[in-house]
């Protein structure tokens, strides 16, 4: 999931009877699956939580370009390079759709960018892990985009119109990402012994961080309960994680690779796999900024923002000058 640990109001969910008529009308619309649009009335907490969630999601798309961009110049063939470029370009687009959706809630894009750069807003923990080999690009597409899709498909039905519409576009494009990742993994897993080892090593390093993407169990979280009542979160973290494991294990088997979990076993009774939880201490450390490459990621974003300032200002000055000239000529 690209949004983790999103806090809502922190209070329990109100019943319809406890709401004033305006809020009740809002909640009844949500319950009836009628979309909430930017200019409709919405509770302050709904708006704030959505800004956090969509903003975090958008930042993840943008920061997520960095681990993959790392391999564009080193892709093994021209075709792989073109494919990776297209994928990284898609991520920029996804970031943009989401920033635009968040902007309809009254926060500016620059404001969100500055909150990312100051560390006030977060992005997904997964992007604080480095991509050390070409097989990592395969693992990122297969596992990271696979986990993202798991979360994003239900969000196409989320209650906030602009968010749901952005998710529809994103989901359409995302399945190419996962398939290209698996394609890389297939090639590596069926290649030379060294390539197979590289593929296994990538799976070893990305397995648990991918499970962390869904966030810790939120079965008893007031934030999740509220977000689910507002339909800005559709499934619990555990549900999505289970679904992801059930889907991914057979795919790993097909590749002839081993999931790095000795406890992994099919559980006939629940119709899913039993599996080991990731190390949640590591997860919280990464969120706090102590992951392997947190500093590099933020540094790269800050540099891009600062180095691009003269371009943003220059283009705007040029546009204003031309507009003034046009007015003068009329």
């Amino acid at each position: 999931m690209y949004a983790q640990m999103v806090k809502s109001t922190g209070q329990g969910v109100k019943s319809l009877d406890e709401m004033d008529p305006v809020e009740r009308e809002f909640q009844e619309k949500v319950d009836a699956d009628i979309r909430i649009e930017p200019r409709d009335w919405m509770p302050e907490g709904y708006k704030k939580t959505l800004i956090r969630q969509i903003g975090q999601h958008a930042h993840s798309e943008i920061v997520g370009q960095l681990p993959e961009g790392n391999w564009i110049t080193r892709a093994p063939t021209l075709e792989r390079k073109m494919i990776l470029l297209a994928k990284v370009q898609d991520e920029a687009g996804h970031g943009l759709y989401l920033y635009c959706a968040a902007e309809t809630l009254g926060i500016s894009r620059d404001d969100m960018t500055e909150q990312l750069l100051s560390g006030k807003m977060k992005y997904s923990s997964i992007f604080n892990y480095p991509t050390l080999t070409w097989a990592d690009i395969g693992a990122v597409g297969w596992l990271v985009d696979g986990a993202a899709i798991m979360n994003q498909v239900p969000l196409q039905r989320t209650s906030y119109g602009p968010y749901a519409r952005a998710m529809v576009r994103i989901c359409k494009e995302e399945s190419f990402h996962q398939r290209q990742g698996y394609d890389i993994m297939m090639r590596m897993a069926k290649g030379s012994e060294a390539q197979r080892r590289m593929a296994q090593d990538a799976l070893n390093r990305f397995w648990y961080p991918s499970l962390m993407m869904f966030g810790p169990s939120d079965a008893n979280s007031v934030h999740s309960e509220q977000s689910m009542a507002w339909k800005i979160k559709i499934n619990t973290n555990d549900e999505l994680r289970q679904k992801f494991v059930d889907q991914t294990v057979p795919q790993a088997e097909y590749l002839g690779l081993t999931v790095p979990d000795e406890t992994l076993a099919w559980n006939e009774e629940k119709g899913g796999y039993d599996f080991a939880e990731p190390d949640w201490d590591e997860f919280f450390d990464v969120l706090k900024g102590a992951g392997p490459v947190n500093n590099d990621r933020l540094e790269a974003r800050r540099k891009a923002w600062d180095d691009g300032a003269w371009v943003r200002d220059g283009l705007l000055a040029h546009a204003e000058k031309r507009a003034a000239r046009k007015v003068a000529a009329e």
């Binding site: 649009e37 200019r39 409709d40 009335w41 297209a86 370009q89 898609d90 687009g93 943009l96 759709y97 635009c100 902007e103 500016s108 894009r109 620059d110 500055e114 519409r165 952005a166 576009r169 494009e173 300032a309 943003r312 200002d313 283009l315 705007l316 040029h318 546009a319 031309r322 507009a323």
Partner: protein, 94 residues
């Protein structure tokens, strides 16, 4: 802090002769750049053959609160729909 680029709403016409349809928005310093960026962002997979860009501030919209007075009157005028009229079967398709 520098000023933010204005927001543009993007409309794309697909290949099959339908009208331009709103697909999303983006920031750009001027209309020409908005068109170029819209091409890169919204037509990467053959989505369209024509792009319109409109600066968001120039769009006038109905207010959500006016939904009743504006749209309800059309709900009761069922005679505006062809299904309101019973045409005998022997007449065939009409």
């Amino acid at each position: 802090m520098s000023k933010e680029w204005p927001l543009w709403e993007i409309f794309i016409r697909g290949q099959h002769g339908l009208s331009h349809r709103h697909v999303g928005s983006l920031h750009a310093p001027d209309a020409e750049t908005a068109v170029k960026n819209a091409r890169d962002v919204y037509t990467r997979r053959n989505e369209g053959v024509s792009i319109w860009v409109v600066e968001a501030k120039h769009i006038t919209a109905t207010a959500p609160g006016d939904k009743g007075p504006i749209f309800e009157p059309s709900e009761s005028k069922i005679y505006r729909h062809p299904t309101f009229y019973d045409i005998p079967d022997e007449i065939g398709h009409m």
